[in-house]
């Protein structure tokens, strides 16, 4: 969240609610809708770290609104973030833990676990497919995000198959 807010502010100064709207517009429905409280907390931390500053802007008939803008330090931090390679995803799979450990306790057998998980993944895939169908075809960003989630899910299913083949 820190970096995405910094990136949006590097484009132009904005207040908290505008940042929330910008994230929603750019990433579409696949993106977990950011909580406005979380945005203000993050902006507060960025301000404390000297990455952003804010000014109060007077509004007719309304309370003042706080507009944030990026500082030189903030811009440097953003540049570092953009230029460094991004960590790849790590396998940290809760299901795999279950699959390996649960049979040892006699709580479940692996076949049943894998079968249930496969059906669950397919249900998730159906949700993603329906989400993609509902998404504006012009919104390339949102569609690519959904496609990324689908590819990860396919990899999870392939891995499940390997587990079923190789774990007794």
């Amino acid at each position: 969240m820190r970096q995405s807010l910094l990136a949006l502010l590097a484009k132009e100064p904005a207040h908290g609610y505008e940042l929330k709207q910008a994230l929603e517009t750019i990433f579409g429905d696949a993106y977990p809708s950011p909580n406005i409280g979380q945005i203000y907390v993050t902006l507060g931390r960025l301000e404390k770290d000297g990455y952003v500053r804010s000014v109060d802007v007077e509004q007719a008939n309304r309370p003042n609104k706080k507009v944030y803008y990026i500082t030189a330090t903030g811009r440097e931090a953003l540049e570092t973030w953009v230029e460094e390679p991004t960590e790849g995803p790590r396998v940290r799979d809760e299901f795999f833990m279950k699959l390996v450990l649960a049979p040892m306790t006699g709580l479940s057998d692996r076949m049943a676990l894998v079968n249930r998980q496969r059906r669950h993944y397919l249900a998730l895939m159906r949700d993603l497919r329906e989400l993609a169908e509902r998404t504006d075809p012009a919104n390339r960003v949102a569609l690519l995000l959904i496609e990324g989630a689908m590819l990860h899910l396919q990899a999870d299913l392939d891995w499940l198959e390997r587990c079923q083949e190789d774990l007794p």
Binding site: M1, S4, F27, G28, D29, A30, Y31, P32, S33, M111, N115, R118, R119, H120, Y121, L122, A123, L124, M125, R126, D127, L128, R129, E130, L131, R134, L145, I146, E147, G148, A149, M150, L153, Q154, L157, D158, E161, R162, Q164, E165
Partner: protein
């Protein structure tokens, strides 16, 4: 042939290949019933017997033992020509390889099964135009198969399989050669014909395709290890507050 008979019923179906040395069991006692209008995805690792199973259901591979009933009629005892008639009348097939007739245009390839099935040339043409249109191939109708890419040929094969509005559509990896966009066209068409009541049994690795199905059958070592409906996800409906993707916070 009765109205309420399942479209497919396989009873203790077995296939053992023997090529030279030891017999290799590919399918080991499969029981499978598919009701009219159902869409069943068959999944499983390679070598688990998925392709052999659907090939037997279409009479393209003989069973070693067990029974196959299609539309209430015993089919495993049919002769090769008996199967050929049954396929022409009731079954549409899509393979990993396409089997298009090389010296006929795309349009003729798609219309042929419908014409053989006895519909009028006009109906055959309208159905062909509809199917090729749905698959983004309207402008390829006059091409010959050799002029098409692998992905285009695969979609033509799907159109051909559906031309006759068969009682049963059997498909083996129908999106194996397709990129994302073409896969989307195929999925949309499968969804449409399924919505119109088409019975489908489809082998796939592709979870996007499998997730179209009502039911998933999982094979392992030639046996069914799971057979059941794909559940509704317990997650709150997507679209309002998507939690599909967790971007680093």
């Amino acid at each position: 042939m009765t109205a309420d008979a399942p479209v497919v019923r396989a009873v203790n179906l077995v296939k053992i290949y023997q090529t030279g040395g030891l017999p290799v069991p590919a399918v080991r006692g499969v029981d499978l019933t598919v009701e009219a209008g159902e869409f069943v995805a068959v999944m499983g690792p390679s070598g688990s017997g998925k392709s052999t199973l659907v090939h037997m259901l279409g009479g393209l591979d003989t069973r070693t033992s067990g029974e196959i009933w299609l539309d209430g009629r015993r089919a495993d005892t049919l002769s090769e020509s008996g199967w050929a008639v049954l396929r022409r009348e009731k079954i549409g097939f899509v393979f990993q390889f396409f089997n298009l007739v090389a010296n006929m245009t795309v349009a003729d390839n798609v219309e042929l099964p419908a014409l053989l099935g006895g519909v009028s040339p006009r109906q055959a043409r309208e159905r062909r135009e509809y199917l090729l249109g749905e698959l983004g191939l309207a402008d390829r109708a006059e091409a010959s198969p050799a002029q098409l890419s692998g992905g285009e040929q695969q979609r033509v094969a799907l159109a051909r399989a559906l031309a006759n509005q068969p009682r049963l559509l059997l498909a083996d990896e129908p999106t194996g050669n397709l990129d994302s966009r073409n896969t989307r066209d195929v999925l949309r068409l499968l969804g449409k014909v399924h919505g119109q009541g088409q019975t489908i049994v489809l082998v796939t690795h592709d979870a996007r395709v499998a997730s179209m199905a009502d039911r998933v059958v999982s094979l392992l070592d030639g046996q069914i290890v799971d057979d059941g409906a794909i559940p509704k996800s317990r997650r709150r409906p997507l679209g309002a507050a998507g939690d599909v993707v967790e971007l680093r916070s």
